[in-house]
């Protein structure tokens, strides 16, 4: 799994005219994956965040996976560092979240985005291919050639979790982005 810093760039608001997963479907996928990994005792809860607000964790881990083919997009997950540590400890059966290493975190957060991304892929037109996950310590920012199509802000034990789907900007010459429709 790659450790990388994403390219700098600003996220735009929700797109229009571009095919994207329904927010409730994204919520369902995310909750299913979360429950499978950490159990049902501490569910993800909704969290109200103003549109366009940056992910507001003091420390964060981020991961992305790209879908290409019948549909194109990028699925990202951003986690408060303590959330990432607890998730990782749970997945690796490590007793204390304080004992989790950066390598452990990269592995677990990468698998989280892989599972969410794979299930998002199944919601969209195919056939498509899912990339291997890319993981970064810190917040994810993205190039200007994608825009946020769908964003889910959640809280786990009071700390923020964000799942986003990014799609290419509509292009009049690209049938995948729907710009000509």
């Amino acid at each position: 799994m790659n450790l990388l810093t994403f390219l700098d760039g600003a996220s735009s608001g929700p797109s229009s005219g571009v095919e994207a997963p329904d927010l409730e479907d994204l919520r369902s996928v995310t909750e299913d994956v979360w429950m499978a990994l950490v159990g049902e005792a501490d569910p993800l809860l909704p969290r109200a965040v103003p549109a366009g607000a940056p992910f507001d964790a003091a420390g964060a881990w981020s991961a992305a996976t790209t879908i290409t083919g019948g549909w194109r997009g990028v699925v990202t997950v951003e986690l408060d560092e303590q959330v990432a540590r607890h998730l990782t400890a749970e997945m690796l059966a490590i007793g204390s979240a304080d004992d989790v290493t950066d390598g452990d975190l990269a592995d677990a957060v990468g698998e989280l985005v892989n599972m969410v991304g794979g299930n998002v892929k199944s919601l969209m037109p195919g056939p498509s291919v899912l990339s291997l996950p890319a993981v970064a310590a810190g917040r994810a920012a993205f190039t200007h050639d994608v825009q946020v199509a769908c964003r889910l802000d959640l809280a786990w034990r009071g700390a923020p979790v964000r799942v986003s789907v990014h799609v290419p900007h509509p292009s009049p010459t690209d049938p995948h982005t729907g710009g000509s429709r």
Binding site: V33, A36, L132
Partner: protein, 134 residues
């Protein structure tokens, strides 16, 4: 019974290992298909492989085709455990020689049920609620 867990995620291997060791399997692990083939060529031939699809170096589909091309490994049971849920991909994996297919996320019971269907867990054997947890 011996299970080989093939997944590039150490966290996912850990989850699967806890499930199958709860069923009293001995386990080995590989982080991609090529590493799994290397182990098998060195004599570590499991009864069942739990195989992810998307992995670096060698993906799970290629691994399955490689295993199925070797008659000495015809008795090895192959179970895909992956986020790949497109019908086309499932059919492709089964046609290549996978016996079962589990889509992530899964519950421990889903793995136990599939292994039971494959005859690798005694009927009425250990259930997830009996101590096998993800």
């Amino acid at each position: 019974m011996r299970a080989m867990i093939i997944d590039d995620s150490r966290a996912m291997r850990s989850i699967l290992r806890r499930i199958v060791t709860g069923l009293h399997f001995e386990t080995s692990e590989a982080e991609h298909g090529q590493a799994a083939l290397d182990q098998m060529r060195a004599g570590v031939v499991p009864d069942v492989c739990l195989v992810d699809w998307n992995m670096p170096v060698m993906d799970g589909y290629t691994f399955i085709t490689e295993v199925r091309s070797n008659p000495e490994w015809r008795d090895v049971t192959l179970m895909m455990v992956t986020t790949e849920s497109e019908q086309r991909q499932i059919v492709r994996a089964l046609a290549a020689g996978a016996h079962e297919y589990v889509i992530k996320p899964f519950t421990p019971d889903a793995i136990v049920d599939k292994l039971s269907l494959l005859g690798l867990v005694p009927a009425g054997g250990v259930r997830a609620g009996d101590g096998v947890t993800a």
